[in-house]
């Protein structure tokens, strides 16, 4: 086994197994979502209008309970997610959406993090690749440093080496 570990074949085996497992697990799920699960997923997407940013799922306030009941009933009646969303926005305003819409000024809240991540990665990538060029050979500065060191080391031996 230790002969096999780390070889190309062993890695191929590991990667295929992982990809297979993850693919199986991600393709196999979500189709048979029950009505209860759909309603639950929706509770997390809306804010309770009276409780400072808590979601409908989190809040114990009366209005949150009302919205949970509304969602449960609509899901049971087969209303689509979009229709439920629109009905709630109509009733309580866009504040009821915990996920900011990708329109108007709210677009920034989605665009800026992506820009920051890309910018940060670019800076790091640049730092790594730029310094990557031609740093293998010692520069004159390096050699001077080593010479200086050797000299101070031999001074040291001269000074203190009497008992060595």
């Amino acid at each position: 086994m230790s002969q096999f570990a780390g070889t190309r074949a062993s890695w191929a085996f590991v990667v295929v197994a992982l990809v297979g497992l993850i693919a199986f697990a991600s393709l196999g799920g979500d189709d048979d979502q029950s009505a209860g699960e759909r309603a639950e997923a929706l509770y997390d997407k809306f804010a309770c209008p009276t409780c400072d940013g808590q979601s409908v799922a989190e809040s114990n306030a009366a209005v949150a309970a009302t919205i949970r009941e509304f969602i449960r009933d609509e899901v049971a009646a087969g209303t689509s997610d979009t229709d439920i969303r629109n009905a709630l926005v109509q009733g309580y305003g866009t504040e009821v959406l915990l996920n900011p819409p990708a329109s108007g000024i709210a677009t920034l809240v989605w665009v800026l993090p992506v820009l920051a991540l890309v910018g940060g990665s670019a800076v790091v990538f640049n730092a790594v690749s730029r310094n990557n060029l031609g740093s293998a050979d010692p520069t004159a500065e390096d050699e001077a440093l080593v010479a200086e060191l050797l000299e101070s080391a031999s001074d040291e031996v001269d000074n203190t080496g009497s008992d060595g």
């Binding site: 697990a25 991600s26 940013g53 900011p100 790091v124 730092a127 000074n159 203190t160």
Partner: protein, 695 residues
């Protein structure tokens, strides 16, 4: 009487901070200006230390006076009138000190005082070093601000008249219910305030121009300790929220929670990138910026949540301190940025990164990820404010936003946690990676296969399990190698303790993934005797019960789970506040928690149906376990390990006195040269040894 004592301690703290700060900074400026140093520096430093040692005394004094006032129910003290109560049990009365704004500032001042005392004690042998002097000036500046808040806009010791029929209402009912209230805030404050110490040393390094690695080495253990407290405080807070708030969750992306996460993210980034500076002398500006940002973010968080700017379920809305905190935040930020800019020319790094496959490059990637996450959290927290100011649009930013941006960042972070620990400094070959990462990859396959076998589905959670296995395998590999090499000492020291922290993070990540992705949340209307089934557990409603104290009326439902033990989710009415709070009842377990909430109870007829919410959350206890393991890892990390010290100690000296010349000087020259050479060549003997001992 007590208000006079309390005010006296606050004023003592304020005066001592101002006096020490002024004396110290004047003497230090004079010393820096004169070429040979100032003769008056020593006595001035001594006098500053004396003033500084009064600050912890003042903090402790103010704290004790307030506790006495709370326990004596001295309602003539304004803060006691606000949060005191005759009927509250002792532990919650003790914790009432930090249940509202003014008292929590006393806790802040106390903690800062204790850190100042610790700095004075720890650096007693460097008492006349200007670096330490400036650090103390900064710490005293911070304590001036907080004692100033206590003295002016948020004085908890004001003398007030007590109406004849006054009845103390006690703290918010949510804060008189669970013992974690006594531990979560102090832990958090020890974390927040602890970051003031590395911040003070960073500012001192900028002012004195001693921007090498000295200040870093002095403060790295302080940073780790502050980080450990903050981590533990956050996890305790999550646990408290789960046990008390009754929605079955532990993290709501509430502004106050975000405010604690921000310094944690930048602090974590710093703990990683600081190793690049220690080892390679690079990233000086960046590390200074991270230390300053971490402290600025704790102040910004305090402003956001204590000024009433943002509504949150646990903000103490109080407008009076808002402008003060904003001003302080501005001073700290502008000061830090200005100093870093001013010293920019001295901060150029001597080193360079050779390869993207190296430890230092992986730390940079870590910093990009943590920086991006901090940016997302900050933006999501403050953006609604800007949007409303800009065009009046009312936005709410909540869980779905943070989830959709945080999930990919967390996944990449886990991947990095698998690869980075096995990478050597400078440059790694692909063969080396292939050997070192093979068994961790096998662990990934094993964990994923097990998860899929027991029913885990969905891309994000299964991906989390796979990468947790990968990262876990890699951390275990490092710990096994270290213990094989050094015996039990393989567990201590920063590197090995850090790997234990990684294992804690991994367990926590699996807990988060499973409990979020596979939770079941059902609401039932049940009459007595009725049984419902959720996830193959039976829940039988047996009837209502009630108990009553002078403080509260508790109505509970008796619910037996799987025909066995009876649990009692309740609705509790706190008589003094007239507030009704749902108190959940939890059956914890290693594989899943069963969480019961009483949503509604019948008003008159005890036989009428109740509304019961049943929440099943798999692996949620793993989150607390992971938090505890992170705490243990932090402790192991601050115990000195078996590493060679960063700056080589003097070589065994010959009998120097006999040689007549000055061996001390040549030794220190050698030592300096050796350090700079080592920075260039990078690999120390230990590191070489480690890289050769790979699997």
């Amino acid at each position: 009487m007590l208000s006079a004592f309390g005010t006296a301690f606050v004023l003592l703290g304020l005066m001592a901070s101002i006096a020490g700060m002024l004396i110290g900074s004047v003497a230090l400026v004079r010393d820096q200006r004169s070429p040979n140093g100032s003769a008056t520096l020593k006595p001035a430093m001594k006098s500053m230390r004396q003033f500084a040692s009064m600050v912890p005394a003042a903090g402790i004094g103010a704290f004790i006076v307030m506790e006495i006032a709370l326990f004596r129910r001295d309602y003539s003290v304004s803060f006691v009138q606000q949060v005191g109560s005759d009927s509250i049990p002792p532990i919650f009365n003790f914790a009432a000190l930090w249940s509202a704004l003014e008292g929590s500032l006393i806790l802040w001042a106390l903690t800062l005082g204790l850190y100042i005392a610790a700095v004075l004690w720890k650096f007693a042998d460097k008492k006349n070093d200007p670096l330490l002097g400036w650090a103390m000036v900064v710490l005293l500046g911070i304590s001036t601000f907080f004692f100033g808040l206590l003295a002016l806009p948020a004085n908890p010791f004001q003398r007030v008249s007590v109406a004849a029929d006054f009845v103390g209402r006690g703290p918010n009912p949510l804060l008189q219910d669970h013992v974690l209230v006594a531990f979560h805030p102090p832990m958090l404050y020890l974390g927040y305030v602890g970051f003031a110490v590395p911040f003070a040393f960073a500012i001192a390094a900028l002012i004195t121009g001693r921007l090498g690695e000295g200040w870093l080495v002095e403060t790295r253990r302080w940073t780790v300790i502050a980080w450990g407290f903050l981590t533990f405080g956050i996890v305790l807070g999550a646990w408290w929220s789960y046990e008390v708030l009754g929605w079955g969750g532990y993290w709501a992306w509430d502004p106050v929670e975000n405010a604690s996460l921000l310094p944690w993210l930048t602090g974590t980034a710093f703990l990683h990138s600081v190793m690049v500076q220690e080892r390679r002398g690079m990233l000086r500006v960046w590390n200074l910026s991270l230390v300053c940002a971490t402290f600025c973010l704790t102040i910004l968080g305090t402003f956001l949540t204590r000024s009433g700017v943002i509504d949150s379920v646990h903000a103490f809305a109080d407008g009076a301190v808002g402008p003060w905190l904003l001003t302080f935040f501005a001073i700290v930020t502008v000061g830090s940025v200005g100093l870093i800019g001013w010293r920019g020319d001295r901060l150029r790094s001597p080193g360079a990164i050779d390869s993207p496959l190296s430890r230092e490059a992986s730390f940079l990637a870590n910093n990009v990820l943590f920086g991006a996450m901090a940016f997302v959290v900050l933006l999501g927290t403050v953006f609604p404010l800007f949007a409303e100011a800009f065009d009046g649009s009312r936005l709410t930013i909540g869980r779905p936003y943070f989830d959709s941006l945080g999930r990919p960042i967390a996944i990449v972070t886990l991947f990095l946690m698998a690869v980075a620990p096995v990478l050597p400094w400078r440059k790694a070959s692909t063969e080396l990676l292939s050997t070192r990462l093979f068994w961790p990859a096998v662990a990934a396959v094993g964990v994923t296969a097990f998860a899929v076998l027991v029913g885990a589905r969905g891309f994000w959670p299964v991906m989390t399990f796979a990468l947790s296995g990968f990262a876990g395998g890699s951390a275990v590999r490092q710990v096994v190698l270290a213990t094989r090499r050094q015996g039990w000492r393989g567990f201590v020291g920063r590197t090995n303790g850090g790997m234990i922290v990684h294992l804690g993070v991994i367990i926590l990540a699996m807990g988060v993934a499973a409990s979020e992705s596979y939770k079941t949340d059902r609401i039932f209307t049940m009459s007595p005797g009725e049984t419902v089934f959720v996830e193959s557990h039976s829940f039988t409603y047996e009837g209502l019960g009630a108990d009553r104290t002078s403080r509260r009326d508790r109505t509970f439902a008796r619910v037996s789970i799987d025909g066995g033990q009876v649990y009692e989710p309740a609705r509790t009415r706190y008589t003094q506040q007239g507030m009704v709070v749902g108190t959940p009842s939890v059956k914890p377990g290693i594989t899943e928690d069963l969480y019961l909430v009483l949503d509604d109870i019948p008003q008159d007829d005890p036989q009428a149906p109740i509304r019961l919410r049943v929440i099943v959350r798999p692996l949620i206890t793993w989150i607390w376990a992971g938090g505890v393991l992170m705490g243990i890892g932090t402790l192991l990390a601050v115990v000195p390990g078996n590493r060679s010290p960063s700056i080589p100690t003097a070589q065994p000296a010959g009998d120097g006195a006999a040689s007549g010349s000055s061996p001390d000087r040549s030794r220190s020259a050698l030592s300096r040269a050796f350090t700079s050479l080592r920075r260039r060549l990078t690999r120390t003997p230990t590191e070489l040894h480690a890289s050769q001992g790979g699997l």
